[in-house]
Every structure is written in structure tokens, then in C-alpha cells.
Symmetry: C2
Amino acid sequence: MGIRKNAVLYSCAIALAAGASWLAAEDNEDTLLARAQQTFKPLPADAGTPQRPLTPERVALGRALFFETRVSSDGKGSCGGCHNPYFYGTDALPRSVGVGGKVIPRNAPTVFNTALQLVQHYGGNRADVEEQAVKALVSPLAYGNADYAAAEARLRALPGYRAMFEKAFPGETEPVTAKNWGKAVGAYERTLLTPAAFDRYLKGDKAALGAQAKQGLDKFMSYGCSGCHNGVTVGGQMFQKFGLTQDYWELTGSKEIDIFKGRDKGKFQDTKNDADAFIFKVQQLRNVAVTPPYFHDGSVAELGDAVRIMGKLQLGRDLTEIDVSDLIAFLQSLTGEVPAQFAATPSLPAAAYKY
Amino acid sequence: MGIRKNAVLYSCAIALAAGASWLAAEDNEDTLLARAQQTFKPLPADAGTPQRPLTPERVALGRALFFETRVSSDGKGSCGGCHNPYFYGTDALPRSVGVGGKVIPRNAPTVFNTALQLVQHYGGNRADVEEQAVKALVSPLAYGNADYAAAEARLRALPGYRAMFEKAFPGETEPVTAKNWGKAVGAYERTLLTPAAFDRYLKGDKAALGAQAKQGLDKFMSYGCSGCHNGVTVGGQMFQKFGLTQDYWELTGSKEIDIFKGRDKGKFQDTKNDADAFIFKVQQLRNVAVTPPYFHDGSVAELGDAVRIMGKLQLGRDLTEIDVSDLIAFLQSLTGEVPAQFAATPSLPAAAYKY
């Protein structure tokens, strides 16, 4: 198999590089980069689109609303409560905790770069970050509002926001709406991209990755990981059955989930279509090294275990310790910086909360 | 009464200043500043003491621990959950929400400048911020740990912290302890001071306060507010009965509190000594304009109402609208900036959470 052979050649080239064949090493370096460039894409500056414009007013409003707790039913929940700055846009929990301490049945993925994924949620039942954000408002677990009107009433009770909504959505008779809340939060999220060493590499800086990360990249592509984890977010662009070679919980140790009356069947939970059983959106892998625990239910704590399990469950491959170590080195090259507009949280309009 | 007469003269001086008596206005300006300097003190650079040294290592550790959620029983609670950057170190709620959605019986005061208060908590039952922090760890409402050992077990399960504790507490055999958690969090809190226009004024910059703020300052001292709200934190340095002229709930609308089996009686709730009934620590007023709602139970949403109620309850005075407006102008001069090391939240050690 050409790819496998190439990998072996590449490994040899690395081993010999100190002594001899610089030309061969250079050739292999070029080949590796070319393969990577066919499979992945560097991050754009932001995830705005003509339909989702990132005006400064909309982003500033969305940034405030992202951290705003007073719109939730107990005055405590917010986007930032599960996607927080100290854990790279996650809550570092296996499964998130919503209003009133209610456990959300799935893990909170990082908000970073998520706007660039094909769809949102593990089952893919949210078209984009705007839909995800606005529907969270009426989730009984996340924000706990009875309906959008209840959420809007809370928003309108905070007088400091009206002027911000008017600027972000000029010309609208009543701009303080749940729908605009979603658009604003979405606009902010579309700025939360985290360029990493791997982006510099994809743009041609071959020194951006160390030797082991390159080994890992080679294996990531050769072993088949990149068959699903590809594109700009290294995943997040397609669906796949989780557990191709055996039931996932045999390796992840996942428990049955009350709300699902058994195992989490992914997309099936929304569609109830048997063909969707155990179909999940392929997870994006940007920042994976700093966002444990892993999988849709956070059932695996360590990155090495997650890599081993994926090799076995999806590829039927028993990865060696060297494989795991190389793959982790590559995955670490996907770690970016926490965006400044996220690490520095905003001061929100001081205003009365209804007692 | 000399003070009252002085205030009248001062008002006249302001009114006439544009036309004539600059000298009189200048004299009154000097007098006002001198009175203020006798009553209040500008903020120091930090609240460290020889016993509570603010080493960089201890402050950095404390900053991480302040926002660390994985030490609470549901993986969601933290100091920063109730004292957060977007609401000037408060949660903007009447009463805070702890682990599992449990309502804490009192309002979360701002963490800013709190280390400079005489004692901590509304009833004063915490000697300092270190004691407050460490006892929160085993509060069934705040962090929900069964005991310090449970909290320490959670801390030690996060491997990223050990090196930070070792640096912050060198030479200790086992530095990862609840006690050191309190010392580190306390050290960080001792850096969270917010110098404001009023501090510049106290240091001699008479232009730091506008004319109305000076009117308000004059009234604040002349009417007797500063009899209790004085010192470096403009309050927080003594105890006082809340409701000197009538029961506080007649004006605040405070509800009975389940956990207290009736009205909140302040210090009495801890001591059960009748002499302590309705005795509360005088609240500090720094950042009061941006930290609604007001009072120990957040029962009053608007600053103007809080000022009016205090005039009546504590001084038996019906403040005019002009009084209220002037006093608010002064109180606004106590608003500082959110400290940079608080607005920018840290990235915390990525590590496994026990599933």
C-alpha cells in the first residue's frame, strides 16, 4: 500500500537524517506537507459569512450575552458557564451541569472553532452556532426558560442591553429578541478561532512542527484517522458511526444515560430513525489536548486512552505506545491560544435583577 | 450646627463661583478635602501583610484556584462563580446560587477590596479572606465538600496543581492542602483592589471629583453616613444594627428566610446571642454603584432606593431627590476598574475529572 510504504520511507528518512540523506528527508518533508495540505485547511481569520456578518456592534453584544447569567431561570446559567475561559471553552466536566444542578446528558465541547463545523451538537441537530445558541435559551437543562418570551422578558428587564441591541440590529422596531440574541452570540462565537502551530505548518512553515509531531501527522493520515478527522477543524465536517468494530461502551466504559433510557445512540436520539443509531458528528480535534475529558459523555479522562480507543473502535488497530505518543505530539500541534476577547471577560451592564 | 452651615456656605460658593468669590470656594474646597481625609483613606497598593505575604507564586496559584470549578462537589462551583469578572466581583443576584442550584441565604458582596475590611461575611464570622475562602470549601451550599479531606482529594486529583503549590509553599512536605488553598486564594484576593476617582481626590487631586460628587461627599459626611461608612473601604470597619429607626424589612421588603426560620438577624445567626440581633457588619461602599442589588439579601434593586432606605432606617432622615442624586454622584466616584488580573481569567491546568 503506497501510503504505508511512504510512511516507512519517511520514518527511515528521519532516522537517517542526522547522518546522510538530507535530500530524501527534504523530499519526504515536502510530500508530507503536500498530503497534509490536501487533507486539512488552515483557519481563516474568522467564521463570518455574508449571511452572518461580524459587525463590531454585534460581536460586542454577543460577547456580553455569552457571559450573561441573568437570562437563565436561576440567574446562574450562561454560555460561559459551560464554555468558560479557564478550560479552553469547556467546563472540564464529563457531562455539563445546567440550571439547578441538572446534569446535561452530554459533554460540553469547546466553543473554539466550533462555528466552522458542518453542524452543531453531537447528533448534528443544530444547523449552526446561532441555532445552537438560541435553542439553549429554552432548554430546560441549559437556561431553563419556559419559552422565548420568558427569555426575552429577562433580557428586556436589563436596561443596559437595549442600546447595544439597537446598535447591533439597526432599524428593527424591537431588536431585543431571542432570535437576535442567537445572532449576536453566534457572531461572537464566529470570532473564537485559535490558530495553532499546525496552521503555520499548513501555510508552508515546515519548522512549525517538530519531528515527532510530523511522525504523528504522518500516522494520523496513513492509519486512516484523517478519513473522518479532516478539513479546517480536523473533524466536525461529517457523521460517522461511533463503534465501527465493536460497541463503543465496551472500551469507553460509558454508562447508560437516564434521559436516553439506555446507551446514547447519537443522532438516533433526535430522529428515532434506526439508521441513525450510534451515528455521531465526528468531533473536531482542535485543542483536543487541552480539553479533556473525551467523547460525547466525557467517559475517558486521558488523551492517550482516547487515542488508543479510537484506533481500536474505528480502525480496528492496536496502536503501539510509540504510535500513541506520536499521535499525541501531532494533536498537541492543534492547541492554539485562548482568544484575547475570551480570556478577558467583559463587564456586563449593571442592572437590577428581579427579586 | 457648624457642619450644616459649612455645607450651605459650600453650596453658595459653588453657585457663585462663576461670578465672584473664588477665594471662598477655594477655602471650602480645602475644608471638604481635609474633612474627607480625616474620615477616609485611599487604597494601598495591595492588602498584603507580613503574615499574609503576596509572593508572585502564591498569587498566581490563588488566581487559578479562585476560578477552579473541579474542587466543588458538582464540578461547577468556584469562588469566581459568585464573584465573577462580568459583575464587578459579584453575581448580580439577590442571593447567590451554590452547588446543585441551592440558594445561599445572603447576597454575594463584591470580592474587590474586601480583604481590607475588618472581618468577612455579613455577620462577621470570618476573620479574614483566608478563613472565608477555606471555610467555603466545606460549606454544603458553596462547594459542597463533606470535609477538607474531600476537597483535598479533589485538588490532588488535578496533577497540574502540585507544582504550583510546591512553588507557592516551598519546603512543605505536603503543600496541597485546604489550608494552603485558603492562603493562596486569600493572597490573590488581596491584590484585587480598585482605586477610583475618590482615591485620587483623597490624595489631593481636587479635580478628581465633579461638583455634584463633592456635594454628595459633603452630605455623606454631614448627614452621618460616614459615621459608619468610613475608612479605606468606606464601610466594612465596624458593626451596626441594621434598622435603627424601624425594622429593616418594612422598607427593604425583605422576605423571611427558610434557613433562618424567619428574618435574617445578622450576627445573631452565628452567636445566638440576643445582643447580636440585627447586628450586621457595615457594608463597604466601594463599587456600590455597579454592584446591585443591595443589602444582605439583595432585596433592593436600585441604588437610589437603597440610599433613601438607609437615610430613613439608620438616620431617620427623609432624603430629598436632590440629596439622593448628590449622594449617588459621590458613590459613583467609588467605582474603580476591574483589575486586569481578574478581568483576564487564567487558563487552568487541563486534567482529568473523575467520572
